[in-house]
């Protein structure tokens, strides 16, 4: 094994160096340290010249039947439902609106700065996450709440950020934040295999999660050209180009259908477009 002493020697040298020179340096804040806490930034957006984007995401065709959840193992949660609870993956409203779509500005905001908003709450109630899809700004505190009082663990598996997995056996709050932009971060509870949530982290506040009527709005955007992306956990992503003018509200719509289910966008690869809404001529070429 040690036929080449010179090799071993070099190895040792290197090891000594590596071991000896690596020390020092404080770790600083933990994973939960919010980047924006100490530096109250003001927005570089002039509200008096801003405009808005709003619209709806609709589902065309017959949506799949809601997937029932068997909660018999957790009676505390099961008792909260008069009929059998279902997963929040595909929720289509009466008017055909698709809920839980994460709509956000993907391109067109370079050069702007934004203050870190106050904490957003991710609640665990009835052994489901509320909201099922949550938008955060980088560094913004996420207050993870256990309203059930039964054991949950919150297991986040990001790719760009560091993961975490914390236990909440009683009613309590736990705070975490993500310092790096990432769409989307999956969260799960290992105690209740059906519990899933997705968190989108952006360096700006222009994100919205569609309600059951499929509506969304992105408000107080500086005038200009944007690429707006709509992300759905089952049907992937689509983009639209939109121009925002002072005082105006640009209307855009997205449509999803069941045929898109076969090719969901891998998590953490949101910039690869797979469905309708070709990237085309990307305006504001820089990612925010």
């Amino acid at each position: 094994m040690f036929a080449k002493p010179t090799t071993g020697l070099a190895l040792l040298l290197a090891t000594f160096l590596a071991a000896g020179c690596g020390g020092g340096g404080d770790a600083g804040g933990g994973p939960g340290a919010a980047a924006g806490d100490d530096e109250p930034m003001t927005s570089s957006v002039d509200a008096s010249t801003a405009g808005n984007v709003s619209g709806t995401v609709s589902f065309t065709g017959t949506p799949p039947a809601p997937e029932p959840i068997d909660m018999t193992e957790e009676q505390v949660c099961a008792e909260q439902y008069s009929s059998r609870p279902t997963t929040q993956t595909v929720v289509v409203g009466d008017g055909g609106g698709l809920a839980n779509v994460f709509v956000h500005v993907r391109e067109g905001l370079s050069g702007h700065t934004f203050p870190t908003p106050s904490a957003a709450v991710l609640d665990q109630e009835g052994c489901r996450y509320h909201p099922h899809v949550l938008g955060l700004q980088t560094g913004q505190t996420m207050t993870i709440r256990n309203s059930d009082g039964v054991l949950h663990n919150i297991n986040a598996s990001p790719s760009e950020n560091r993961p975490f997995n914390v236990s909440q056996p009683v009613e309590m709050d736990t705070e975490r934040s993500f310092p790096v932009e990432e769409v989307m971060i999956p969260l799960r509870c290992d105690v209740h295999g059906w519990m899933a949530a997705y968190v989108g982290v952006l360096p700006h506040p222009y994100h919205s999660v569609t309600a059951t009527d499929g509506s969304f709005s992105l408000e107080t955007l500086p005038p200009g050209d944007y690429v707006v992306e709509a992300w759905h956990e089952r049907y992937g992503v689509q983009t639209q180009n939109v121009t925002v003018t002072t005082g105006g509200t640009a209307e855009i719509t997205f449509e999803f259908n069941e045929a898109m289910a076969g090719n969901p966008v891998p998590l953490a690869e949101p910039w690869v477009l797979t469905h309708q809404g070709e990237p085309g001529h990307a305006v504001g070429a820089d990612r925010p």
Partner: protein
């Protein structure tokens, strides 16, 4: 498979150790001359490519050629996610944390320990090289280990409090009420890769990844096992839901669920002669508490196709008694499900979906149930001669006792090769079984007369050592047929009853000796009296 057992390597290792020592001295003198730490990465790469890439892949992505049969999969170093750390959840491991896993391996997985295979310098270089696979190491501050106080001592009160905390923070949800990995959430557990993963059996502390001491357990409660369902409980202490002392009590309690140290593997299982009367007829008889238990490690059957790389049963506790007429063998093992259990229906399918290129004829889902086979040679053997350990062969058949969770009997069979077993006729079945499944544990009792009228039943002669081996199947883990766990051969030795003479002789001898002593004392006293009288007259 275990690199440490390679016999001829011992000399090489000593030579390597000597060489490393000499080199250390030289390196100390020269270390100032070394230009950059980049050299570490070059050498680490060589060590890695030779010893690690087969499983972890040359690119460190856990996709090596051998990875496809492993569950859990080899670590993907590119994501910078490490289970065993001294740092908080989500944080990177320290160099010492990575080195520890290289040194000790990950028990219960395919990852062996390397401390006796690679030099310290090679292992250190590996640590540096592994860190280059993930961008997180370069872009993050130096990881700081969590600061823990030293472990407080244990006490009865702390163990009681530990049990309370176990229930308060619901460890049982995954680990089960007695800690054997049979919690209600256990069948649905998955790791970050979406692969089925098991909650640790807390009664086998010597198998714990990251160490089995109270400190090790406490540290993992604080850090969690990132990438797995095991969370960190640090936030509970910070939020004062429980105290740090509570967590220490829990660590003591978890520690108390396992033997003090790794049970030794002993080749001879002694069936003690039950002087107190007939052997117990149930697995729950208190008499078993007084009977010595022997640990028998089990491994997946990977010699004959279809092979099995994901065995559930990693060991059995074996106890044996005889009363001169009847032999009783009690086998106890951890199994999180009483197969077939509907809650585990999908488990085996998920396991098989992960396996790359399973052998033809492999299991596709849950097997019919749990099963245990005890095997003996069908015909008398001499010396170390034994049948092939996988149910014999055409030349030397094996005599089997099989218990099945899904059907009663037939227990006795003869086999001339794996799967080629012939049950004895119904009127020739002389072995009875009694089984209990409780809190993630099977206890199965086999009983048979030492001698039977069955022509094919080898007699169990008192005072002899009879070869004995085991096979186990967990149906809900997909195990059936050739795909289960196996042991090597052991010996079952039936203890001689102590003959009555052995009790009488010492008593007689003692009485005789005492009598003689009395006699001598008497004589001496008389002689003294005789001697004193004349003297007084003088």
């Amino acid at each position: 498979m275990d690199a440490r057992t390679a016999g001829p390597g011992a000399g090489t290792r000593r030579a390597a150790a000597l060489a490393a020592g000499l080199l250390c001295a030289a390196a100390l003198a020269l270390v100032a001359l070394a230009p950059t730490p980049a050299g570490a990465q070059v050498e680490g790469a060589a060590v890695y490519d030779r010893w690690c890439a087969g499983c972890h892949g040359v690119d460190g992505d856990g996709q090596g050629p051998a990875a496809g049969r492993m569950l859990p999969r080899p670590r993907d170093f590119t994501v910078g996610l490490y289970q065993i750390r001294s740092t908080g959840t989500g944080e990177l491991p320290t160099d010492e944390d990575i080195l520890r896993v290289i040194d000790e391996g990950m028990p219960g997985t395919a990852m062996p320990g390397w401390s006796e295979v690679l030099t310290r310098a090679e292992r250190n270089a590996l640590v540096e090289y592994l860190k280059t696979f993930s961008r997180f190491f370069a872009s993050s501050p130096e990881p700081e280990p969590l600061d823990f106080p030293r472990a407080p001592g244990s006490s009865e009160e702390k163990l009681v409090r530990g049990r309370e905390v176990f229930e308060l923070i619901e460890c049982n949800r995954c680990h089960g009420p007695a800690g054997r990995g049979d919690g209600t959430s256990s069948p649905t557990l998955e790791n970050d890769e979406g692969h089925p993963t098991v909650a640790a059996d807390l009664t086998e502390g010597w198998m714990f990844n990251g160490g089995g001491t109270v400190e090790d357990i406490y540290r993992r409660l604080r850090t969690g096992l990132d990438g797995t369902p095991m969370p960190s409980f640090s936030d509970l202490v910070d939020a004062e839901v429980i105290s740090s002392e509570d967590l220490w009590s829990l660590a003591h309690y978890v520690r108390s669920l396992s033997p003090g140290e790794r049970p030794p593997v002993r080749e001879v299982v002694t069936a003690r002669f039950a002087e107190e009367g007939p052997v117990p007829t149930t697995p729950d008889d208190d008499a078993w508490d007084e009977v010595e238990r022997y640990w028998v490690p089990m491994v997946g059957q990977i010699l004959l196709p279809p092979r099995w790389f994901n065995p559930r049963v990693d060991g059995l506790w074996v106890q044996a008694l005889h009363d001169g007429q009847e032999l009783a063998v009690l086998v106890t093992w951890s199994d999180p499900s009483r197969s077939p259990d509907p809650a585990w229906d999908e488990w085996a399918t998920k396991v098989m979906e992960v396996m790359d290129h399973p052998d033809a004829g492999s299991t596709a889902g849950a097997g019919p149930g749990d099963r245990l086979t005890v095997q003996f040679p069908a015909t008398a053997t001499e010396g170390m001669e034994r049948p092939f350990f996988l149910q014999g062969d055409a030349r030397r058949p094996a005599y089997l006792w099989t218990w099945r969770s899904w059907q009663a009997g037939p227990v006795e069979a003869e086999a001339r090769g794996l799967g080629a077993e012939q049950p004895q006729p119904a009127d020739g079945q002389d072995v009875t079984t009694a089984a209990v499944w409780e809190a993630g544990q099977w206890r199965v009792l086999f009983s048979r007369s030492l001698t039977t009228e069955g022509e094919d039943d080898p007699p169990f002669a008192v005072g002899t050592a009879i070869p004995m081996a085991f096979q186990a199947w967990d149906g809900d883990n997909g195990e059936q047929g050739a795909q289960g766990s196996v042991s090597t051969w052991y010996f079952l030795s039936l203890q001689q009853p102590t003959p009555m003479a052995a009790y009488v002789a010492p008593v007689v001898a003692l009485a005789l000796a005492f009598g003689l002593l009395l006699l001598m004392v008497r004589r001496a006293q008389r002689r003294e009296e005789g001697a004193q009288a004349p003297a007084s007259r003088v």
